[in-house]
Assembly symmetry: C2
Homo-oligomer: 191 residues x 2
């Protein structure tokens, strides 16, 4: 099994339904995966860059688990990216992440119907990922197909919606675990 590192970028897992369910399901299915929750590690936003870089170096597969937030990373995860993925470590001639696999695993609040050329947003979900595709390219990370689930909104949650979102999150986690297990069965990933 390759070393799997999951970075949780949710700003407040205590109030999460989708992301916390996904993390718990993945932890159960892949007990060897390292899960780093940025909100609980860094409530004061003082990111331990050395510890984060060490975790990345050990990983074969890196998962970014986050709620899509203004069509990008949540603020705390963007801070993490800015501070940890510095020149010399993540890119440049002494870059150290080359060849590792990167999987974006995210939920969106808006339903899938809004994400299309005919929808309100006018773009598909994956159109917003070019920022990450270029980031991966610059860091020589091997970006995989994303795993995402739309319509996991935090607004107007009631018991019925929470129950539905937990089911959606479990289904999402199942897809993510399948991808991780498939990667681990590929010959080049056997370590």
């Amino acid at each position: 099994m390759p070393n799997v590192l999951i970075i949780s970028g949710h700003p407040n897992l205590a109030a999460s339904v989708g992301n916390i369910t996904i993390l718990l399901e993945v932890a159960r299915a892949l007990p060897g995966a390292e899960i780093r929750c940025l909100d609980t590690l860094y409530p004061d936003f003082k990111i331990n860059v050395a510890a984060e870089q060490e975790a990345l170096l050990k990983a074969d597969v890196i998962v970014w688990q986050f709620p899509f937030s203004w069509y990008s990373l949540p603020g705390i995860m963007k801070l993490w990216l800015d501070e940890v993925f510095v020149h010399g470590f993540a890119h440049g001639s002494t870059a150290k992440l080359g060849g590792k696999k990167l999987i974006l695993s995210f939920t969106t609040g808006a339903p899938q119907a809004l994400y299309s050329s005919n929808g309100f947003f006018g773009n598909d979900v994956e159109d917003y990922l070019i920022q990450f595709e270029t980031t991966a390219a610059l860091c020589n990370l091997d970006m995989q197909k994303p795993v995402y689930t739309c319509g996991v909104s935090y607004s107007d949650r009631d018991e019925t919606k929470i129950a539905q979102q937990k089911i959606m999150a479990k289904e999402h986690a199942s897809r993510l675990v399948t991808v991780l297990l498939t990667l681990s069965s590929e010959p080049e990933m056997v370590v």
Copy 2:
């Protein structure tokens, strides 16, 4: 003259060449503009949401001034967006920013040549802005053509490069000021 609000999202203006030059030039040309520097206001990342929302409410034109950072906003500016542009204030049935003009004013580290379908990134600079276009659409902000300058990198800066970057930043500021003055002469902006 409309009320102009400039939000600086640079994470460390003390080490800036491009963004600080742009801000100083704009301050000189438009002394009535309010300039809020997130790094100096919030070194501890504790954003005063009420103060930020009040500043936005007073503005007719909002400028986001930032260095492009992993093809998106710097972390501190993303935190600001997440915490300030909440449902009920920035979007939803009680949204309060509708009709205000939004200008993205940014520098990129990479040179323009990398940003094209034939360049390393494979996309034009403006392709990365769909995240902001959708944000503006959801908040009913009237997004203007962006003002940007490529090739303002912080790496390997020497005296010659710093001098060149200051010239580029002054030219950028001049373009931004022209846009702001043009907007202010439009009939609907005369207040």
